[in-house]
């Protein structure tokens, strides 16, 4: 197989693009896709201070590398989730990347800072582990970005992640979530701007990007994610993609171009109603009796008492 651009031997084929790429052209392709995503959705401006949420996996480390290559002032944030050896191992990959590239890595440990870990939070809040983890990361990422004065928080959600989330939201017609599913969530009182610069790259491309740059990342899957719904959606979408390459990209891009705007009002309405959590100050829906979901989970996991106000 030859590279579509330069006719040198290809190292990867991307059926979605009906193309193979050599190393250099593949790297250029990845940079172009990220640059296009940033420009298309006005994610960030040169000179802005970017915080990249890094897990030690291929997507977040690949994103961190790509943003730095594109000239952005990007620091990393690693959150220790207390998932045994998996957390220890993933942290070591994030630290190694920061050390090797001379990048700044902030670290926040859930147990040290908030008094509980994901297994405890999951059990106490009666949430599946991925739900407890997602809630915790969203809270800690936002709080850290606000506290340290970053302009924007970048996460490693890729095309496959967005397709799987969209698939799930459509299957259940979760219209508020559809209105919120966008590569940019603008800043609002209590919220830093959040962006997803990998929206145009699949996870296979991110893994390949890391391999060709010699970026070591944790290949093992989180032991608590095994069998989760999101993985099932990805498996189904990959089976469709195998028969019809380009389906995932079309699913996401068409949603963003033609459908997303129809549901924006539902998401905006919810965001407009938020008020500060009585415990931590984070924006919280009125239905939560004054205390945000993260603080409620934390209180249940640690046995702390929290002040609850009438909604």
């Amino acid at each position: 197989m030859k590279c579509r651009r330069c006719r040198e031997p290809a190292i990867i084929e991307l059926r979605r693009h009906n193309a193979g790429f050599c190393r250099d052209c593949f790297v250029r392709h990845c940079r172009e896709q990220v640059r296009r995503a940033i420009d298309e959705f006005s994610m960030m401006q040169p000179g802005e201070h970017v915080l990249v949420a890094v897990s030690g996996g291929k997507d977040s480390l690949g994103l961190w590398h790509l943003l730095r290559e594109l000239g952005y002032d990007a620091d990393g944030l690693y959150v220790g989730l207390g998932i045994g050896d998996y957390s220890e191992s993933s942290a070591s990959y994030a630290r190694a990347f920061a050390h090797e590239h001379g990048a700044q890595l902030l670290e926040i440990d859930l147990v040290d800072t908030y008094g509980f870990d994901i297994p405890e939070g999951s059990l106490a809040a009666r949430r599946v582990p991925c739900s407890a983890c997602g809630l915790s990361k969203r809270h800690v990422f936002n709080e850290a970005a606000m506290t340290h004065g970053y302009d924007v928080l970048a996460t490693g959600h890729n095309l496959d992640d967005e397709a799987a989330v969209l698939f799930g939201n459509v299957l259940r017609w979760q219209t508020e979530y559809l209105g919120r599913q966008h590569p940019v969530l603008p800043a609002a009182p209590g919220f830093v701007r959040k962006v997803k610069p990998l929206i145009r790259l699949g996870e296979r491309e991110l893994a390949a990007y890391c391999v060709v740059h010699g970026i070591d990342y944790i290949v093992e899957e989180c032991p608590m994610a095994e069998g989760n719904r999101h993985l099932g959606y990805k498996e189904a979408l990959n089976a469709i993609e195998e028969r019809s390459p380009g389906t995932k990209a079309a699913f996401v891009s068409t949603f963003l171009e033609r459908v997303h705007s129809r549901f924006v009002d539902e998401a905006t309405g919810v965001r407009d109603d938020l008020r500060p959590c009585t415990t931590c100050g984070s924006p919280t829906p009125p239905s939560a009796a004054g205390v945000c979901a993260f603080c409620r989970m934390r209180a249940r996991a640690t046995g702390a008492t929290i002040p609850v106000t009438a909604s």
Binding site: M1, A10, I11, I12, E13, R15, G20, G57, K58, D59, C130, C133, G134, L135, K137, R138, D160, D161, A164, V165, G202, E203, R204, L206, A207, A208, V211, V212, V219, E220, E221, C222, A225, E226, N228, H230, L231, K234, E235, N238, A239, E241, E242
Partner: protein, 66 residues
């Protein structure tokens, strides 16, 4: 040839098929869900394989929605 699989990490000894694409079909692996790495280098599906090759089939699908 030797095939290295992940999650959990393990090795298989299999007769070398003609190329990478056939190896994935033989092992019933969806190509979109993996990278194939031979001698630390990415391999396309049309690349020929020999009995002396060591090939890693690395999954790229990760879970979590946060």
């Amino acid at each position: 040839m030797k095939v290295v699989l992940r999650n959990p990490k393990r090795e298989l000894d299999v007769p070398a098929p003609p190329n990478v694409g056939q190896l994935l079909r033989d092992l019933d692996v969806v190509p979109e869900s993996v990278l194939v790495i031979r001698n630390d280098t990415l391999a396309t599906h049309d690349e020929r394989l020999s009995e002396s090759d060591v090939v890693e089939i690395r999954p790229v699908v990760s879970g979590g929605t946060a």
